[in-house]
Symmetry: C2
Amino acid sequence: MANSTRDRIIDASSALFLQRGYAGTGLKLISDESDAPIGSLYHYFPGGKRELAAQTLRASGAAYQALVEAVFDAETDVVSGVRACFSAAAEALRLSDYADACPVATVALEVASSDEELRVVAAEVFESWLASATKRLRDGGVRPSAARELATTFVAALEGGFLLSRVARSVGPMRGIGEAIASLLEGELAPDGSRRFKR
Amino acid sequence: MANSTRDRIIDASSALFLQRGYAGTGLKLISDESDAPIGSLYHYFPGGKRELAAQTLRASGAAYQALVEAVFDAETDVVSGVRACFSAAAEALRLSDYADACPVATVALEVASSDEELRVVAAEVFESWLASATKRLRDGGVRPSAARELATTFVAALEGGFLLSRVARSVGPMRGIGEAIASLLEGELAPDGSRRFKR
DNA sequence: CCCCTTTTAGAATGATCATTCTAGTGGCAA
DNA sequence: TTGCCACTAGAATGATCATTCTAAAAGGGG
């Protein structure tokens, strides 16, 4: 059974780390936002801030993957699926005042060169996303040899869209990028293979 | 004439902010890395850490733009230009042990929701990049109505590539994404417009 | 040389940080 | 009830933070 206090801590951490970064988020702030005393933070995460961040990356990474999969799988083809993902991301940004974005990217960039343990956790999350996207593209008719790179491009474009849209406070970038990536996949799936993505 | 001490401070800040984030980089560390005493930091940047970060984002953003433009302009067509940019980014990552990446993204994500002043600075840098890329795509034959969105996709994919390659410590993502974006532009430029990116 | 401004130098300060610690409360099983 | 364990609660601690401050060195023009 899920522990409610632990979940509140993870939820608060996820939102705060995403919005303010790892170093920029104090445990006191997490304690306040989650209504859990500092003693509870160390009770559930004896490894301290590092372990809390690692677990938060894992949990919110898995949750975000499930969300994207649900949005994608609700469509009937990969082009619509990709379009729906960008559309949903844009909508989430707009509705949350540009706060609800990728729960991994901010911390990942921050720790990639300076905290090996957390870097590996982030790498595992992204690898899981890429595997999921690759499988879905393959199942949707994308040539197996091209699926992995197109999946990588999809994830990268989504991440870049979060960055540009959040900084600009506009859904324009995310929407435009979504159209372009959908178009890329359309070209790949066309019966005439002459203009296919080569690999 | 450029002030050498000031330049050293900016250079050190650029590298440190990119690798450790804004909150994660102490002024003491910048002082050590740049061989400039703390008094000098406040002499050249009276606004303190915030002003230093703002000026660093502006300076390193402009420098990176110039670098990308030079790589792009050395090629004869936009497809080769885009390919060269991703290739150069991958090479820079590999040679620097995955430290030499986008000097804006880490701080931008960190401050987008929590520091309006720095968010605006980052937004201006990205807007300048997008304007530059849009112009080059237009000049290279991309339909004007599609150029802005394709430029946005190019920048977003590059940023996503930095994220994925840095976290995975592999140039694979950056290279694959580069091929895919080059392929997207190839489709756009094809004489047969049937599979063009629509807008 | 003197004078004046720029720049260096880092100690002092008070705030905030992650972490530890002690003392508890609440609930459940025996 | 008694004992036990999970959890709460936040004060105490020492480190590190950004910033301010005083003082002097460096540099250049007269």
